[in-house]
């Protein structure tokens, strides 16, 4: 399945992803409604976008007392069926990365569903920090980055070319 690959070293906390996701959910830009959140730490100069990673063994899925959290067979996304959700918040307690939030208006839990396979956050990420890639290939850019460093270290430093 394809997942949203996140590169904190390319993120500039512009929050386009939060706006795009919130817009998809509600038509407005209230970032509380976004399923993707960006944390920015000014003192450390670190930007971390984060969303549900659709765990292979989702604890939220397992623990839901209403059986409202299921895996979408097409996209592989872990999705909350708002019609089944009773708003008990057990999934909020279950998710280790805090990726589920509670909608105080509809009184149900909400989370990323990969937009059915065309995630809005990725489309509107201006820096390219978010990519939608096959899980087997995810984070291969880290390897490429390392390769580039090694290439330079081992003598291809072409100054003046």
């Amino acid at each position: 399945m394809r997942i949203v690959e996140v590169d904190p070293t390319s993120c500039v906390a512009c929050r386009n992803c939060e706006y795009a996701c919130a817009f998809k959910q509600t038509g407005d830009f209230d970032t509380k409604d976004s399923n993707i959140r960006v944390n920015f730490y000014p003192e450390e100069r670190v930007c971390i976008p984060w969303t549900c990673v659709h765990c292979g063994e989702g604890w939220c899925m397992e623990v839901c007392p209403a059986g409202a959290i299921l895996r979408n067979p097409e996209t592989g996304a872990v999705e909350i069926d708002a019609n089944r959700c009773a708003g008990c918040k057990m999934c909020l307690l279950a998710c280790p990365s805090g990726s589920i939030h509670f909608d105080k208006v509809e009184l149900v839990s909400k989370k990323c569903d990969l937009c059915g396979g065309d995630p809005a956050c990725v489309k509107f990420c201006t820096s390219g920090a978010l990519q939608f890639v096959e899980e087997e290939e995810a984070y291969s850019f880290r390897r490429e980055s390392l390769d580039n460093k090694l290439k330079r270290l081992f003598g291809l430093n072409k100054r003046g070319s």
């Binding site: 009773a86 918040k89 998710c95 280790p96 805090g98």
Partner: protein
């Protein structure tokens, strides 16, 4: 192999799921004393409160069992288990043979030994049947006394208040939710409950219940005038359903002790859920955590082990969340006794918010949060730290939203 699972709730169904994901060949029979389709106990108050419709209580349909090739025997109690002959005997006399057996019979509510308590107009809020009965009895203006102040009792009180009944809560100990909340948190919740017009009395001993001719219940307490109510709901603890093991070699001791593989003392027989006393995330070997998430975990481990995977359980981390009286109460781990430990508190009780994280030598061991949904998320994020016993030096930063994942900690 012949697999038999006794129990059709969280533990039993979780075990069933996990077993089948590993072993699609063995035959499975699922026996349950309740005849209703599998329902979620956690959701019963939501239905009673009219938040969800009746049909949403059910978490399995007949086709789900068909898909997993499970034979079901519903509405029949198991009378006796005989490990020697590998059979169990049902109440109608039938026997079922097994190679591996999972006992996930759960627990049932306790009735404290109060004179006159057993009898008409006294209920629990535990089963679907209880709930349907209470649903027909809840009328605006009726008076109800809730005895006990644990999660179930207070949910019952909340539901009744929302349905327009006049509610009083009696708690024996000096504060409400004594095993769940510390003094400060209990005081905050107590206040929220009273703000909703529910009378709360702590440190009160119920001595006797009389029934008048008109069916009104008169409740006698020490040092107070009698209280007249139309019904009583008792939420004063549960006891494990181990009667089926009486006289059998399977050891019971306030529940069924199991090891980290959910095995009882008898090979081939497992136990999971409220009926079991298993390992905890803090290293205790036999504890009952009568909680839905624990039952699900137990079931998963039992199912895996029964299918031949030697998968040890990391231990139950007791966690629970419920919303009532306009506040969300979430708890995890050990957070009540804090002598000799560090606690990090956000005390905003004026804004209906109280969060406390307890640490032992810098490692979080528990937390309680009263507040909004975001505070529940904090506990969810804390879970990996508690489970993996990782140091969290910057609790303040953590509460601000830093350290998404444990690896972020410097």
């Amino acid at each position: 192999m012949q697999i038999v699972i006794i129990g059709n709730s969280a533990a039993g169904l979780s075990a069933l799921s996990r077993f089948r994901s590993i072993d699609q060949e063995s035959q499975i029979t699922l026996v349950s004393a309740e005849s209703a389709t599998a329902y979620s106990r956690v959701l019963l108050p939501y239905y009673l409160r009219r938040k969800i419709p009746h049909e949403k209580l059910f978490i399995r349909r007949p086709e789900d069992y068909e898909r997993l090739s499970v034979k079901t025997v519903f509405g029949v109690e198991v009378r006796h288990v005989d490990p020697e002959s590998h059979t169990l005997t049902l109440e109608d006399g039938r026997t079922i043979g097994f190679d591996r057996l999972l006992i996930a019979t759960g627990s049932r509510p306790l009735l404290p030994p109060v004179e006159g308590l057993a009898g008409a107009n006294v209920y629990h809020l535990w089963t679907l049947s209880d709930t349907e009965q209470l649903d027909s009895l809840f009328r605006p203006g009726r008076r109800v006394l809730v005895i006990g102040s644990g999660f179930i009792a207070l949910q019952a009180a909340w539901v009744a208040q929302q349905r327009g009944l006049k509610v009083a809560v009696f708690e024996l100990l000096p504060r409400i939710m004594p095993t769940v909340l510390d003094e400060r948190a209990a005081a905050l919740l107590h206040q929220k409950i009273e703000e909703h017009g529910v009378e709360v009395r702590v440190g009160i001993h119920t001595e006797a219940v009389e029934r008048t001719i008109k069916g009104v219940l008169r409740v006698q307490t020490k040092g107070h005038p009698p209280l007249e109510v139309d019904l009583i709901i008792v939420g004063a603890g549960v006891r494990p359903n181990t009667e089926l093991l009486d006289g059998s070699p399977v050891k019971t001791d306030r529940g069924i002790p199991v090891n980290e593989y959910m095995e009882t003392n008898v090979p081939g027989i497992y136990a999971a859920g409220d009926v079991a006393r298993g390992p905890t995330a803090f290293g205790e070997t036999h504890q009952t955590h009568a909680l839905w998430p624990t039952a699900v975990e137990h079931g998963r481990i039992a199912g895996a082990n029964m299918a031949g995977q030697r998968a040890p359980y990391q231990g139950s981390l007791n966690m629970n969340v419920t919303e009532m009286f306009g506040i969300t109460v979430a708890s995890m781990g050990k957070f009540v006794k804090d002598e000799g430990l560090t606690s990090h508190v956000i005390d905003e009780t004026g804004q209906s918010r109280y969060v406390k994280i307890i640490l032992r030598e810098g490692i979080p061991i528990g937390a309680v949060a009263l507040g909004g949904a975001e505070d529940t998320v904090i506990l969810g994020r804390l879970r990996p730290w508690i489970r993996n016993q990782r140091r969290l030096p910057d609790v303040g930063g953590f509460l601000e939203g830093r350290y998404l994942l444990p690896r972020q900690v410097a």
